[in-house]
C-alpha cells in the first residue's frame, strides 16, 4: 500500500509531461466567418465519425470558436523529400499547409500529389502509448509486490491484479490450451489487459481517455494477426492433416474437388478476421451509441431550446446506462478476444483422437 501514493504521483507527473511536451494548442477560429464550424454544429454524423476515427491532434473541446487540443507529432517519409517531423499544430486545424503537406478531412496529403508514408503519432498512437505506460506501471508495481510479498498474503494493487491473472490462467488458458498453456500466457495476459485497459480508457470522455483505440480496425487487425501468427507458428502435424485430409468426412468431399480443404483453409483465415471485426465493431458501436444519445440533445436543442433541455435528461440517463453497459462490454470483449485466441492456440495442436 505504501508505494501507491508515490506511484500515483509518478503517474500524474507522466501525464503532465505528456501535456507539456506536446503543449496544449489553443487556436482562435472566428466562428462567425468560418462556415465549417457552423455546419459542424448540426452535422451529427460527421461529429460522431470525427470522435470514432483517428486524428492528428487530440481535440479536447471547442470553446467560443477556439479549438483546444493536444497537438501530436507528425512523422512523414517520402522517397523524394525524405523524413519530415513536426507538430500537427503547424497545420492550424487544416487552415495552413506546412512543408508541402496539408491536412484534408483529417488526412495528410501532399500538395504536389507525390507518394509518401504517414507514420505520425496520431491520437490513437498517443492513446496506445498512454495505455502502455499505464499497463507497465500497474503490472510492474504488482510484480514488485509479488516479489516482496513472497509467501505472504497479497496486498495493494497485487490483490486487484491477482484474481484477474488467475482468471486468465485458469479460466481461459488452461481449459482451452491444455498442459502446454504456460508458453502462451505472456501473450494472452498482454492481449487481455491491453484490450481491457484501452476499452476502459475509451469510455473516459476527456483527455487522456476517449480515444477509440480498440474500435480502430488497424489495431484489432494487428492483434488478430498476432493471434494468427502465433497459432500458425505453433501448429503440429495433426492440425495440417485436419485441414488437408479432414478425418471423419466422406472421401468424395476431398477428391476430385477438394471441397473440405477449401472450407478448412477459408476457416483458418476467417477465424482471425472475425476476431478483428468483432472487437472493432463492438467497441465502435458502443462509442457511437453513446455519442448519438449525447448528440440528440443538440439536435433537439437546435429545434427548440426547451426541447434540448428536456431531451438532455433522458439522453443523460440513457448514455449513463449505456456507459455502464459499455464497462461490461469492455471486459467482455477483452475476455472474448483472449478466450478465442486461446481456443485457436489449442486447436493448432490437434491430438490424434480420431
Amino acid at each position: 500500500m505504501q508505494n501507491l501514493p508515490g506511484a500515483h504521483h509518478q503517474f500524474y507527473k507522466c501525464i503532465l509531461l505528456i501535456i507539456f511536451t506536446f503543449g496544449l494548442s489553443i487556436d482562435s477560429v472566428n466562428a462567425a466567418s468560418d462556415p465549417e464550424t457552423k455546419s459542424e454544429e448540426l452535422n451529427v454524423g460527421e461529429l460522431i465519425f470525427e470522435h470514432v476515427l483517428d486524428a492528428h491532434d487530440w481535440h479536447i473541446l471547442t470553446w467560443q470558436g477556439h479549438h483546444i487540443s493536444v497537438p501530436l507529432p507528425v512523422i512523414l517519409y517520402s522517397p523524394q523529400k525524405g523524413l519530415d517531423i513536426f507538430m500537427s499544430s503547424k497545420f492550424h486545424h487544416g487552415h495552413d499547409s506546412y512543408q508541402g503537406y496539408k491536412l484534408e478531412e483529417g488526412h495528410i496529403v501532399s500538395e504536389d500529389g507525390s507518394e509518401f508514408y504517414d507514420l505520425s503519432i496520431t491520437k490513437t498512437v498517443a492513446a496506445i502509448i498512454i495505455s502502455i505506460i499505464l499497463l507497465c506501471w500497474i503490472f510492474i508495481a504488482a510484480a514488485k509486490s509479488f516479489t516482496t510479498n513472497r509467501g505472504k498474503a497479497p496486498s495493494g494493487i497485487q490483490s486487484v491484479i491477482e484474481p484477474l491473472v488467475i482468471f486468465v490462467r485458469d479460466d481461459i488458458a488452461k481449459p482451452s490450451i491444455g498442459k502446454d498453456y504456460v508458453r502462451y500466457m505472456p501473450f494472452l495476459l498482454t492481449v487481455f489487459f491491453f484490450i481491457w485497459i484501452n476499452n476502459m480508457l475509451g469510455l473516459i470522455p476527456i483527455f487522456p481517455g476517449g480515444a477509440n483505440v480498440t474500435g480502430n480496425i488497424a489495431i484489432t487487425m494487428v492483434l488478430a494477426v498476432f493471434t494468427f501468427v502465433i497459432t500458425t507458428i505453433n501448429t503440429n502435424k495433426g492440425y495440417w492433416v485436419h485441414i488437408f485430409n479432414t478425418p471423419g468426412v466422406p472421401w468424395w468431399l476431398k477428391f476430385p474437388v477438394p471441397l473440405m480443404p477449401i472450407i478448412e483453409i477459408f476457416g483458418v483465415f476467417s477465424k482471425p478476421f472475425v476476431l478483428m471485426l468483432r472487437l472493432f465493431a463492438n467497441i465502435t458501436a458502443g462509442h457511437m451509441i453513446i455519442l448519438v444519445f449525447v448528440s440528440m440533445i443538440f439536435i433537439f436543442g437546435s429545434m427548440n431550446v426547451w426541447a434540448g433541455y428536456g431531451t438532455s435528461v433522458v439522453s443523460m440517463l440513457f448514455s449513463a446506462a449505456l456507459t455502464l453497459l459499455e464497462i461490461l462490454v469492455a471486459f467482455l470483449q477483452a475476455y472474448v478476444f483472449t478466450l478465442l485466441s486461446a481456443i485457436y492456440f489449442g486447436m493448432a495442436k490437434v491430438e490424434d483422437h480420431h
Binding site: 483517428d54 505520425s120 496520431t122 496506445i128 491473472v165 480496425i217 492483434l223
Partner: protein, 164 residues
C-alpha cells in the same frame, strides 16, 4: 469506408508498441507474477499435504493408543480371570483340606470314644461285678462260706448279662 480501412502508420506503431509492451511485461511483470502465483500455490499445496500427513499421523497415534488400551484391557481381564480361578481353586482346596481334617478328627474322636467306651464298659463291668459282689456279700454274708465258688457263680451271671 474510412472506418474499415486500416491505416498503415497505425499498423506500424501498433505492431511496434505491442511488441514492446509484450516484451517489457513478459520480462518484468508476467514472469514474476506467474512465478509468485505458482510459488504460493505450491506452498499452499505443500502445507495442505503436510497437514494431511500430520492428521494421518495423529489418527495412527490414536489407533495405536487404542490398540494399546485394548491390549491392556485384555491383559487385565486375563489377570482377573486367572486370579479368580486361583482363588476358587484355593477355596476348593481349603474346603477339601478342612473336610479331610474334620473327617479325621471325627474319626479320631470316634475311635477315642469307642476305646473310652470299651474301657468304661470294662471298668463298669468290673465295678458292677464288685458292687454286685459287695451287695451280694452284704446280703448273704452269712450264707456264703465259700467265697471262691460264689464269685465264680456271680461272674457267670454277669457274663450272661448282655451289656449294651
Amino acid at each position: 469506408m474510412e472506418l474499415v480501412t486500416p491505416d498503415i502508420g497505425l499498423i506500424f506503431w501498433m505492431t511496434l508498441s505491442f511488441l514492446i509492451v509484450l516484451a517489457i511485461l513478459k520480462k518484468f511483470a508476467w514472469k514474476p507474477i506467474l512465478q509468485g502465483l505458482k510459488d504460493r500455490e505450491d506452498s499452499i499445496k505443500e502445507s495442505l499435504s503436510s497437514a494431511e500427513k500430520a492428521r494421518e499421523e495423529m489418527a495412527k497415534l490414536k489407533s495405536d493408543n487404542e490398540k494399546l488400551l485394548a491390549e491392556a484391557r485384555l491383559e487385565r481381564d486375563k489377570i482377573i480371570k486367572e486370579a479368580l480361578a486361583t482363588a476358587s481353586s484355593l477355596k476348593e482346596e481349603a474346603k477339601e483340606d478342612a473336610s479331610k481334617i474334620s473327617g479325621k478328627m471325627i474319626e479320631d474322636a470316634r475311635n477315642v470314644i469307642t476305646s473310652e467306651k470299651q474301657a468304661a464298659l470294662a471298668e463298669m463291668k468290673q465295678e458292677v461285678a464288685r458292687l454286685s459282689l459287695e451287695i451280694a456279700e452284704k446280703l448273704m454274708r452269712t450264707n456264703l462260706s465259700d467265697d471262691q465258688s460264689q464269685r465264680a457263680l456271680v461272674d457267670r451271671f454277669i457274663n450272661e448279662v448282655k451289656v449294651n
